[in-house]
């Protein structure tokens, strides 16, 4: 607000002049226009994709048919399930570890306090941004061509794309450390590497592990979708089953994935909460029981900082071993043994995963040898004779993203409001909607997409509905969180003026959390458009479908064309979303 606007103007000597309303900054006008355009585009998308009651009624018979076709569920033999599960987990473990291994040096280059210089910093940051910008699907399509079928392309695709998130969060963690210990090591003559290993790593380790676990959960879900382009594991089996219309088998396997996702998320969530020092609230019911079991499992991973104490002699005598030598390593308390056992377990899991995922090193060599030749297949890009189709596919993908975000945002407002402790009419309503949100968030996009594909048929409606439900889960959670964080004193002040409950809500609560909500919606739009390209490969409409087709008939020039198209759109949308969020915050 400009200061002069509040002063009376000198040429008008009257004792009261209403201050002129200051003109809003040009940037705000631009953002408002952009937001309105996005809204109009989203409404148009919903209409154009025919997401309406009529479609649902038409699909009703399909739904009935679907239900009759999936029951009884056709589970494969138990050992077969175990084999697929182990294979999927192994690939995800190796991919996540590889992502961590690549991310650490990049993060050290990208973080302001550990980077050796400006050029390295730019390199690190650019590498991380590129890894995030290129969807794993695109990595997978290219890498399958280079390395042939097998586990390796899937692992590399998951790992490379993960670097975008893991590297960014690692760099953030490094930048927020306490510089004191690092300086102490520098002051005693430690080298740069020593400062990093002994001063930086011990501080960021909990965050590094927590981030890796979080990424593990995400990679597990993605790996199943990538099964459709040939990544081995449960995803591949689901894709085969759906392609041959064995819906009873496909849905059974999807249920296995659902259970797997819930179990891993519970375990990793519990370990993460401990690592970061949060005490999880007591949970009740079946979910609570599962959580407590996971909790018991994760107990040994993390030592709570307050429980360790070593009874020894007084402070002025070095501790000695039974043979009289000075003790130089901690005694083998039960806790140390348990920690070592878990460390051993992790190493065994890593080794087994590497073996099971069956990376053939021959194919690495072959792939790299043929790399120039392979890459020449991808160049120059060409639209083939289907430029019109491709552009239309891209537009459909955008429509899916827009429509899904709009539906998700509209539906998540009431859910989010009712889930917020300070806005819900009573505690049971708050609890009910919180649990609903948790349940919705547990459903992987893929499973929703599969269900909707069977109900509404192949096409964009299925993708839109799957992504809309995913968006409801995240947006309503974020809205509820931001409502709970609003400043209660403002609400109290308005209430004190005699305002009704709904007046308080609209004048204060919603107003305070609205900018954050818009920012979250834009972020969700950005990630929905990425996800829409990915879901296209399972038949949920849009450009992903063409990418899949082109890669299957080996028109790699078309693949390149599509990849470039996707990249341009994704980067533009992200730039727009980042800019808008910056202005409205």
């Amino acid at each position: 607000m400009s200061v002069t606007a509040t002063l009376p103007r000198s040429e008008e000597p009257s004792n009261f002049t209403p201050p002129e309303k200051p003109a809003p900054p040009a940037q705000n006008v631009a953002v408002t226009v952009v937001l309105l355009l996005v809204l109009v585009a989203a409404v148009w998308s919903v209409i154009d994709l025919r997401i309406n009651l009529a479609t649902f009624i038409d699909s009703f018979h399909n739904a009935i048919a679907f239900v009759s076709r999936i029951f009884p569920l056709d589970f494969p033999p138990f050992l077969e399930i175990v084999r697929m599960t182990v294979q999927t987990l192994a690939i995800v473990v190796v991919a996540t570890v590889l992502a961590v291994v690549i991310s650490i040096p990049l993060a050290l280059l990208a973080a302001a306090n550990t980077t050796p210089g400006g050029t390295s910093r730019t390199f690190g940051r650019v590498a991380i941004v590129i890894a995030r910008a290129i969807p794993d699907l695109i990595f997978a399509v290219i890498l399958f061509r280079i390395f042939g079928l097998g586990a390796l392309p899937g692992i590399l695709a998951l790992a490379f794309h993960s670097v975008g998130m893991v590297g960014k969060l690692y760099a953030d963690a490094i930048e927020s450390i306490d510089e004191g210990p690092v300086e102490a090591i520098r002051a005693s003559g430690g080298s740069r590497a020593q400062q990093i290993i002994s001063g930086v790593f011990p501080q960021v380790m909990p965050q590094f592990i927590a981030t890796a676990l979080h990424r593990f959960d995400i990679n597990l879900r993605t790996s199943v979708i990538l099964g459709y382009v040939g990544v081995v594991g449960i995803g591949l089996e689901i894709s085969n089953a759906m392609r041959t219309m064995n819906y009873d088998r496909g849905v059974a396997l999807a249920l296995v994935v659902l259970v797997l996702c819930i179990i891993t998320e519970l375990i990793s969530g519990s370990i993460r909460a401990k690592l970061m020092g949060h005490e999880e609230a007591k949970k009740k019911g079946a979910y609570g029981l599962a959580f407590r079991i996971a909790d018991a499992f994760s107990q040994g991973w993390v030592s709570s900082s307050r429980t360790r104490s070593t009874p020894g002699p007084d402070g002025h005598t070095p501790q000695t071993m039974p043979d009289g030598a000075v003790r130089t390593s901690p005694p083998w308390t039960l806790e140390r043994m348990r920690r070592s056992a878990y460390l051993g377990l992790v190493l065994v899991v890593l080794a087994v995963s590497t073996l099971v995922s069956d990376i053939s090193f021959g194919s690495i060599v072959d792939g790299l040898r043929d790399l120039p030749q392979t890459l020449s297949l991808f160049w120059p890009p060409s639209a083939g004779d289907m430029l019109g189709d491709l552009v239309h596919g891209m537009i459909v993908t955008l429509q899916i993203g827009l429509a899904a975000t709009l539906l998700g945002a509209v539906i998540s407002v009431p859910i989010g409001v009712l889930a917020a402790r300070n806005a819900a009419p009573n505690p049971s309503v708050h609890k009910f909607f919180r649990i609903t949100i948790v349940a919705v968030r547990a459903l992987p996009d893929l499973i929703l997409a599969i269900i909707f594909i069977v109900i509404t048929g192949l096409g964009p409606v299925a993708g839109t509905l799957a992504l809309a439900i995913g968006s409801i889960g995240l947006l309503s959670k974020l809205l509820a969180d931001s409502i709970e964080e609003t400043d209660e004193r403002v609400q109290e002040a308005i209430r004190a003026n005699g305002a009704t409950r709904s007046q308080v809500f609209f004048a204060s609560t919603l107003r305070q959390s609205f900018p954050a909500f818009v920012a979250h919606v834009l972020y969700q739009l950005d990630s929905n458009i990425r996800a829409a390209t990915l879901l296209g490969i399972v038949g949920a409409g849009g450009i992903g479908f063409y990418l899949m087709g082109a890669s299957r008939v080996m028109s790699f020039d078309v693949v390149t064309f599509i990849i470039i198209m996707i990249l341009v759109v994704v980067l533009l949308v992200e730039a727009l979303s980042v800019w808008t969020r910056k202005v409205i915050r």
């Binding site: 520098r186 002051a187 002994s198 307050r306 360790r308 130089t328």
Partner: protein
């Protein structure tokens, strides 16, 4: 402003640290050190007194090259700090230990490992890690911990200790360097009076046992008077007092804190603090 007392130095040829016309500027307007010249003789405890932003920390951090001067010469233990390259500085720093206001321990590592990090500068090759400190070094760390009275806490995480205990761990970490010079930057500013006293007692004892040359910045005049051989007063980056502690009256010492006489320096200091934060 106080007149600068000229002092005859008994060992002026054998100084460990020498500052000649050292000036340090941050940006264009902030002068943290303004043509400082001073010498520090072996086996003596010098306390730097002054307000926040008077240049105490900056002076200390020039001794081991954590900061480089904008102009002037610094010689520490025969090394020209203002000219030294990275390798030379690292070799110098092995002989110059430093302790800090906020202890600067790695909270998630054990006390013993924290002490071991003091010797990283002398370790080479792969042995720079978390768990790879040689057994002999660990044994020595345990002895230094016994010396500061914390051997019983060796295997606890450092962040489970009280502030005073953490500072004693930091002293053990300094001792394991077997230093010739000890720099202490506000070592008791974050501690309660009882812990402060025990840390100062410990510093005094080890300084005499190890024949250390100590340069220590402090806020508290009483502690400085009881602890030091010599007091150097700083105001706005200039040396305004340089006396043997025995010759100094408490009034002289307190007058360093008299800011009313020179309001301009207050403005300077707040700019300086803004630049640092």
């Amino acid at each position: 402003m106080l007149p600068v007392h000229s002092v005859s130095h008994p060992h002026s040829n054998a100084e460990v640290i020498r500052f000649t016309d050292v000036t340090k500027r941050f940006g264009e307007n902030v002068t943290a050190l303004d043509s400082v010249s001073a010498e520090f003789q072996p086996n003596r405890i010098t306390v730097l007194l002054g307000l926040s932003g008077s240049g105490k920390s900056t002076l200390l951090r020039h001794i081991n090259g954590l900061q480089r001067p904008s102009a002037g010469e610094i010689t520490t233990l025969g090394t020209r700090v203002d000219l030294a390259g990275t390798g030379q500085l690292r070799r110098l720093r092995r002989d110059v230990a430093m302790i800090f206001q906020h202890f600067n321990l790695v909270g998630s590592m054990t006390v013993l490992e924290n002490v071991c990090t003091g010797r990283l500068g002398s370790l080479r090759g792969p042995r720079m890690g978390l768990f790879m400190f040689p057994r002999t070094l660990r044994a020595e760390a345990m002895e230094q911990l016994a010396r500061v009275g914390l051997a019983d806490k060796a295997f606890q995480r450092a962040d489970t200790l009280s502030g005073g205990q953490q500072q004693r761990v930091a002293i053990a970490r300094a001792l394991i360097q077997r230093p010739k010079v000890l720099l202490a930057d506000e070592p008791v500013a974050s501690l309660d009076p009882v812990s402060s006293a025990s840390v100062i007692d410990l510093l005094t004892r080890i300084s005499h046992e190890e024949n250390l040359t100590v340069v220590c910045s402090l806020h508290q005049v009483e502690i400085a008077l009881g602890f030091s051989d010599r007091i150097l007063g700083l105001q706005g980056g200039r040396v305004v007092l340089d006396e043997e502690t025995a010759d100094i009256s408490p009034e002289d010492a307190y007058s360093i804190y008299d800011r009313v006489a020179n309001p301009a320096s207050v403005a300077d200091e707040s700019r300086f603090e803004a630049a640092l934060s």
